[in-house]
């Protein structure tokens, strides 16, 4: 049985930053467990630029961003195991993992969950039709093209206008494919404006909003898809069907935190985020198990993943040293998300553990223009900020300061809400 003070599950951007955070906070005995043959996770296949503006004040590609963190890991001498798959975690923080050397048993002082997320597959969409070759999630196609060096096809339709789908529309165009259209169910895109302009408009790729794929045709290879306009209830409108011949359909229809291992440790998950329910230290309901990055909630900027995860690492270090207050005595103030705010992370804040502030991240459920984001302590409105626009694709932040808690002693709830 190996004994590790802080064990980190996953060597992507979250795991790397968490390891750095734990080591900087003084914990020597840190270990990263990574299932792939290299560190850096999904950043390695995100070869486009636009990463790191917040962290490094310059625009990097995914592999460059990853390499900066991997270099820090090497310089700090933080140990990691590659090609190592974690199979189980128990609530008393015993980890079972496997690699070519056989089974590993690890007893951890603290565990940081940093497994990232996976893509919503075709099966989650209920699109009728055949099950041909040529239907891929956008991220799978991204791996084929950018890491393996293979093209998935020549004539492409993308369903869903998430950022990976938009990025892949441009990428496949560069490699000689014809991207027929990007089809989006909602009346707005979940992708960044920058990606709509620079990945679609620059190459004349049409974005069909309020449309969906109603049938997939062809066997054994995809031959085409039927696309139809949808009404305000997102139901296809009869008579608007259009057949688009294509040999490849990419799905960019959402990401889901990958929490299978968290479940084995009895970690409580949120129905809304799909990630763990955490307190202000990013600690789950299981003491000493922390969660950060896309396994906690899906982020749009890796910079925020790094920042959050470094904090998770510092908090895990404090836990190992017995320096923080237990969440067992229920000292937490509950955060409530209402009126268009879908969720907040964290879900509870124990004011006794707040040094100077807590960044509360949240997402909204629709596009809102010229509204106010307000924060209530109990029934008292403490903060009200005007926002020109709020969209579901952009993670938002409100800052809760220590002095606010001093103003409202004994407060039970904090509400984050959208107002006129």
């Amino acid at each position: 049985m190996m004994k590790i003070d802080v064990a980190i599950i996953g060597g992507g951007p979250a795991g790397l930053a968490a390891a750095i955070g734990a080591r900087r906070a003084g914990i020597q005995n840190v270990l990263i467990l990574e299932r792939e043959a290299y560190l850096g996770g999904i950043l390695n296949q995100c070869i486009h630029n636009g990463f790191g503006l917040h962290t490094f004040k310059e625009e990097l590609t995914g592999p460059e961003y990853a390499e900066r963190y991997v270099l820090q890991i090497e310089e700090m001498g933080i140990p990691y195991m590659l090609n190592t798959m974690v199979l189980n975690i128990t609530r008393d923080k015993k980890i079972t993992a496997a690699n070519s050397g056989g089974l590993l048993e690890i007893e951890a002082g603290a565990v940081i969950l940093a497994m990232g997320c996976r893509e919503r597959p075709r099966g989650a969409l209920n699109i009728p039709g055949t099950r041909p070759v040529g239907v891929y999630t956008a991220g799978t196609a991204q791996k084929y093209v950018n890491l393996d060096g293979y093209m998935p096809g020549k004539e492409v339709v993308v369903l869903g206008s998430g950022d990976i789908g938009l990025i892949m529309a441009r990428r496949l165009t560069f490699e000689g494919a014809k991207v027929r259209a990007v089809i989006e169910l909602m009346p707005y895109s979940g992708g960044l404006k920058r990606n709509i302009v620079q990945c679609l408009d620059d190459y004349g790729i049409p974005l069909k909003l309020s449309h969906t794929v109603t049938e997939i045709k062809g066997a054994p290879r995809l031959a085409g898809v039927t696309v139809a306009q949808v009404d305000e209830n997102r139901k296809p409108i009869p008579g608007t069907e259009e057949y688009i011949p294509c040999d490849t359909l990419l799905l960019s229809v959402g990401l889901i935190p990958e929490n299978e291992l968290s479940k084995s440790a009895d970690v409580l998950l949120s129905d809304i985020t799909g990630g763990a329910v955490v307190n202000e230290r990013l600690e789950t309901n299981v003491e000493g198990i922390f969660s950060c990055g896309n396994v906690l909630h899906v982020h749009d900027l890796v910079d925020f993943v790094s920042e959050e995860s470094e904090r998770a690492g510092e908090n895990a270090a404090q836990y190992v040293r017995g320096e923080h207050l237990s969440n067992k005595d229920g000292g937490g103030v509950r955060l409530l998300a209402t009126n268009g705010v879908r969720y907040t992370v964290p879900f509870t804040i124990d004011p006794r553990n707040v040094k100077d502030k807590v960044d509360v991240r949240f997402r909204v459920d629709n596009v809102y223009r010229d509204k106010y984001v307000s924060v209530y302590f109990g029934d008292e409105r403490e903060q009200r900020r005007r926002r020109m626009i709020l969209t579901p694709g952009e993670m938002e932040t409100v800052v809760i300061k220590k002095e606010m808690f001093l103003k409202y002693p004994g407060v039970k709830t904090i509400t984050v809400t959208i107002e006129e």
Partner: protein, 118 residues
């Protein structure tokens, strides 16, 4: 000449109308902030992009090497730039930042590696 563009500076995505006189921006309407006007002027007179792609990599367990233009290049040179990468193979060992193609398409910008080979 009139050009319609969408601002990418923030999620507002303002639709802007840009009037060009002899290649110079004379009027921008529809922008709700200064960033939009600046973006409109740059985008309508000299649109530039950093281009990223991959080339095959030999002598490494990695199949491909991700690359980028060292600086932004004119938007109308993007497709020439990516086409000129066809047939280029990089050889390991490579370090991020190494020049893979010098002066791509004669536009005075190098193609550099964005990952170090293992």
């Amino acid at each position: 000449m009139q050009k319609e563009i969408i601002c990418i500076s923030c999620p507002m995505g303002c639709r802007m109308s840009v009037t060009l006189d002899a290649g110079k921006v004379s009027q921008v309407t529809g922008a709700t902030c200064k960033k939009g006007v600046d973006y409109a002027e740059l985008e309508c007179t000299n649109p530039m992009r950093i281009v990223t792609s991959t080339v095959p990599l030999s002598g490494s367990p990695l199949n491909t090497l991700p690359v980028k233009t060292q600086h932004a290049i004119p938007k109308d040179k993007i497709m020439d730039c990516v086409r000129s990468l066809k047939g280029i193979t990089a050889k390991a060992p490579v370090a991020a930042g190494d020049i893979i193609v010098e002066n791509v398409c004669g536009i005075g910008v190098n193609i550099v590696a964005t990952r170090s080979s293992v």
